[in-house]
């Protein structure tokens, strides 16, 4: 068989896959997804579980260990049949949470912690890389079989290299063609479905040939099986259970399985079909494993690699076409695994590692959504290339060794470390982020120490002595016999310990830590997903799409503009009416139109929502968030402006209120002044007219003349007081500070008061020894206050023998001078107004005397404020009592 021909056939096959994927993408873009998204395609896509290792290795496995290979199929079968409710929960959660990968799902469950996302991503990369290397190995070994029947070697590396390149190209083209809002890849899924059919068909064809072509029918075949050493293999119970459990966990936890099972799922109900159809597929693909192994062992020369029986049996019988078909089957199995795994890993890497880093580098400026999409696309492409480079690198470094053959189960065991956190997250609300992280790290470390690193063989990573005696001679730390647990198969041993450590840490730390509010929320969402979410939705594009798009566009563009756009496009398409077909051209035009109003990311997400009918990807959400942030920023500014305006209005209102109040006060004041001025003027005019009329007794004449004189003086004093108060109130007063003995000031005031109120009956008691203080203040003004208080006492004290006591007390920096008379004091209800203008109390005695117009205390209060002191009424004394408080050295402004 010519190698060139094989390469040509492979290339043709790959070309065919490209075409299939391309056609599927086209149909999807045209909105015809009904067939692409059928339960059958879904079930076939699940067959990425059966990789190149399963395709070739199962026979080898059977040849070496008998029926044990069945566990690899038994685990998934049990999960799909017995645990399909768990898968349904997983799918429902995945869809409602818009999970893009298993890392995303876990990070989402545990409070949207990206740290956990990164952790799972790293574990997935470590667990998957050897597996990708394994696929490359299977292809290069297969090529080598055709080439020389020998082993890989240098030409194996070449094959692996070009295979890796080809797979990278295919995955980049169909895996990151566009940022699909649903993280769905119609082309890829379709190609994988085709590959699923090819690999099953190829294995069945080889099987049929072996049974009927070589063994001579079912009867002889069964006899041959009974006679073969395979049937004599004893199945070890512990290993059997562990392997079954392991493959069951793997089908849930493997990144590629999550991709096809959850992310690419378009309808939850497909799972019902898959729950019986996928086990059937597994049964069919494993049907002829034993016959091929038995016939291979008996008819091939001893030493032939049983892993290659699928190829070498047809070749040895000269069935080249069958051999090529088998090759294509193995090729399909290997490539489908690599493609889906690299898509899954690249999604994780880009969403949990690259994007957070890129976004944090962009700190500050709100990024343009287009940038985000582009960065996501490029980071996905780079991640795919990196994943394949890692796989290839691993393949080259491991030298295609026998260790690689074991890597399948080891890889399963690594990925299975996600299982406790995943299941705990789905069913236990008490599971916390810290618990999940502790379990993952602990389990993974045990796995690496007890299984992964020793698998490279003695003296590769761990020295032989360390494997035998433990590090530093600590025997309980022997990697393959931890804590003295010897006599177990290394895989069983590692699984046992890693799961014990993983689950133990997960539960213990979860119980010991408190979940954050976000974790609680997500925990409830996950655990009770069927209560929270509505019945399964059907995610398929419908005929009513254009109508929905129009309704949406009208809201954003306005009814007229939207209808015009739709009508115009419909006319272009040659359709009658206003509803065009939702072609890709039209959708992108609509997207551009919408993005003018709501931003590109939002527009994309909205159209996807109507067109695809489903969720929105992380990147789109980030873009939407960007735009929303900008709108929020803008509305915050508007809000601030509006608040400002409201505050201004409030201030204006207050100012107006104050003005109104002032106006009322002014009216009251004017009315008071009018009264105070008109009253003496009335007397003056009336008596002037009486005097002018003549015919008066001389005594009467002089009495009336005196009244006129008194009332004129009262008027003058009133005007003086008004002016004085005005000056004091408006701060235009110029103070004249002087140093003077307090006693002297009081003496002057007493003399002045006596002079004004001639015939004053008031007797004044003072304690002159306390008055021997020097004050530095405007003593003229101070005297004015004292005069006012003494005159008030003289006027208003209603005692038969009126007395006023003036007592001075000095307190540190201040002095207090109390003026207390022996009268009945001021009624309580007037206390609050006595210092107001014109608060002269209605009092017969006051009315009988001339002088005070009710401004005296108002003026005194103003003066004391200017002098840095105060004046107050003491309500709890026997008579009228005022207290003047002032600093020894007054502080006042110098004008």
């Amino acid at each position: 068989m010519q190698l060139d021909l094989l390469v040509l056939i492979s290339l043709l096959y790959v070309g065919m896959l490209f075409l299939v994927a391309f056609a599927a993408e086209r149909r999807a873009r045209a909105g015809k997804t009904a067939w692409l998204r059928s339960p059958l395609i879904y079930t076939l896509s699940l067959s990425v579980y059966c990789t190149g290792w399963t395709f070739y290795g199962a026979v080898g496995f059977a040849a070496r260990s008998g029926l044990e290979y069945v566990t690899i199929y038994l685990g998934p079968t049990l999960v799909f049949i017995g645990w399909w409710w768990l898968l349904r929960k997983l799918v429902r959660i995945g869809r409602t949470q818009r999970a893009t990968s298993i890392a995303d799902l876990l990070s989402s469950r545990y409070g949207k912690s990206n740290g956990l996302g990164i952790l799972v991503t790293i574990l997935a990369v470590i667990g998957t890389t050897p597996y990708i290397a394994l696929q490359l190995q299977s292809i290069s070994l297969a090529v080598a079989v055709f080439n020389d029947g020998g082993t890989g070697g240098a030409s194996g590396n070449t094959t692996a290299f070009w295979t890796a390149i080809g797979l990278a190209v295919f995955t980049v083209v169909f895996g990151t063609r566009n940022l699909d809002v649903n993280e769905r890849h119609h082309g890829v899924v379709m190609a994988i479905a085709v590959e699923a059919v090819v690999k099953l068909f190829a294995l069945l064809a080889v099987g049929v040939f072996v049974v009927w072509g070589m063994a001579g029918g079912i009867g002889p075949m069964l006899q041959q099986i009974d006679a073969s050493p395979i049937s004599a293999w004893k199945v070890e119970g512990g290993r059997w259970i562990v392997l079954t459990a392991l493959s069951g966990m793997a089908i849930i936890c493997l990144p590629r399985m999550f991709q096809v099972l959850v992310v690419e799922n378009s309808d939850e109900r497909h799972l019902a079909t898959a729950s019986w159809a996928f086990p059937l597929y597994l049964m069919l693909i494993s049907l002829f494993v034993i016959p091929i192994a038995v016939v291979g062992l008996s008819s091939m020369p001893s030493g032939a690699n049983p892993d290659q029986f699928v190829l070498t049996l047809p070749l040895s019988e000269g069935q080249n076409t069958l051999a090529v078909l088998a090759f294509l089957g193995g090729f399909s199995a290997a490539t489908s695994m690599v493609i889906v795994a690299s898509i899954a890993l690249s999604t994780m890497l880009s969403n949990h590692v690259v994007m957070p880093i890129w976004l944090s580098l962009q700190a500050g400026g709100a990024s343009v959504s287009g940038d985000v999409r582009r960065v996501v696309l490029y980071s996905r492409r780079l991640a795919i290339a990196a994943v394949l480079a890692l796989g290839y690198g691993y393949y080259v470094l491991s030298g295609g060794s026998a260790a690689l053959a074991k890597i399948g189960l080891i890889s399963f065991a690594g990925v299975a470390q996600v299982f406790p956190a995943l299941i705990g997250g789905l069913f236990w609300r008490g599971a916390t982020r810290r618990g999940a992280a502790a379990g993952l790290v602990g389990g993974f470390l045990v796995w690496a120490y007890a299984l992964f690193l020793p698998s490279f063989g003695p003296d590769a990573v761990f020295s032989a002595s360390m494997l035998a005696e433990g590090p530093f001679g600590l025997s309980f730390m022997r990697p393959e016999a931890l804590f003295g647990l010897t006599g177990l198969d290394p895989l069983v041993h590692a699984m046992l310990w890693s799961m014990v450590v993983n689950t133990g840490l997960f539960m213990a730390v979860s119980l010991a830590t408190f979940p954050s509010p976000m974790e609680r929320l997500q925990g409830a969402e996950f655990v009770n997903v069927f209560e929270h979410s509505s019945a399964p939705r059907i995610w398929s594009g419908g005929a009513a799409e254009a109508e929905d798009l129009l309704v949406m566009a009208q809201r954003i563009l306005g009814p007229e503009e939207a209808t015009e756009l739709f009508t115009k496009t419909a006319r272009h398409q040659g359709k009658i009416g206003y509803l065009p077909d939702p072609t890709p051209e039209f959708l992108s035009e609509l997207e551009i139109n919408l993005s003018g109003s709501v931003g590109a990311g939002t527009a994309h997400a909205m159209i996807a929502q109507v067109h695809g009918g489903v969720s929105v990807s992380v990147a789109d959400l980030m873009a939407v968030a960007d735009e929303t942030a900008q709108i929020m920023e803008y509305s915050t500014q508007l809000e601030a402006k509006s608040d400002e305006l409201q505050a201004t209005a409030q201030e204006l209102w207050r100012a107006n209120e104050k003005l109104t109040q002032l106006s009322i006060q002014k009216d009251a004041f004017l009315s008071q002044i009018s009264h105070e001025l008109r009253t003496p003027m009335t007397s003056i005019r009336a008596f002037s007219e009486i005097l002018l009329a003549g015919e008066l007794e001389p005594e009467a004449r002089s009495k009336y003349a005196r009244i006129i004189q008194d009332e004129s003086i009262r008027l003058t004093r009133l005007l003086d007081d008004l002016l004085d108060l005005s000056v004091l109130e408006h701060g235009q007063v110029v103070l004249d500070p002087q140093e003077e003995r307090l006693g002297d000031v009081l003496d002057r005031a007493q003399a002045a008061a006596s002079a004004a109120g001639s015939g004053m009956q008031l007797s004044i008691n003072r304690d002159s020894k306390n008055e021997n203080l020097v004050v530095r203040t405007d003593t003229g003004r101070l005297a004015q206050v004292f005069i006012n208080l003494i005159s008030n006492a003289a006027k208003y004290c209603d005692h038969a023998n009126p007395e006023l006591s003036i007592k001075t007390r000095s307190l540190r920096e201040k002095i207090q001078i109390d003026f207390v008379d022996n009268g009945s004091g001021i009624p309580e209800d007037s206390h609050s107004v006595i210092f107001e203008k014109f608060a002269r109390l209605d009092d017969d005695k006051a009315a009988n005397s001339t002088g005070g117009a009710g401004l005296g205390l108002a003026i005194s209060r103003e003066i004391m404020e200017r002098l840095g002191g105060s004046i107050s009424y003491l309500p709890d004394r026997q008579g009228g009592a005022f207290r003047v408080t002032m600093p020894l050295e007054s502080v006042f402004e110098t004008a």
Partner: protein, 123 residues
């Protein structure tokens, strides 16, 4: 018998002046200086007319007028109000309450006399 005028006013000089003017014209003038007891004084003195100051200690002139107008004995009693406040608002209110005459201080003596004569006739 001379006609009597009850003067309710708290300013002694004005009592003196009006008392002088009216008694010289032959009227009997009685004065009362407190708002709270003004109604009692009206009941006691049964004057022919009332001269009522607007601002009084204890009770304002407008309140007194309102009470006078609501009592049957005094609802037709001629009342002349005097005010030194000089605000239109006071006059409006007094007229609304049924004042007979309204005069602002300071006044011409002759005017007061004429008003009294108009309201109750010559003494």
């Amino acid at each position: 018998m001379p006609k009597s005028v009850l003067l309710i006013e708290d300013e002694p000089n004005i009592i003196e002046a009006i008392g002088f003017i009216l008694s010289r014209a032959g009227y009997q003038v009685i004065s009362h200086g407190d708002g709270t007891t003004a109604l009692d004084a009206v009941t006691r003195e049964t004057p022919d007319m009332l001269i009522l100051d607007l601002m009084l200690p204890g009770r304002g002139g407008l309140d007194i007028l309102r009470d006078l107008r609501s009592a049957s004995a005094t609802k037709d009693l001629p009342v002349m109000m005097l005010t030194a406040r000089g605000q239109k608002h006071d006059r409006d209110q007094a007229e609304h309450l049924g004042v007979t005459a309204f005069m602002t201080k300071p006044f011409a003596n002759q005017e007061v006399l004429q008003q009294v004569q108009t309201l109750i006739g010559d003494a």
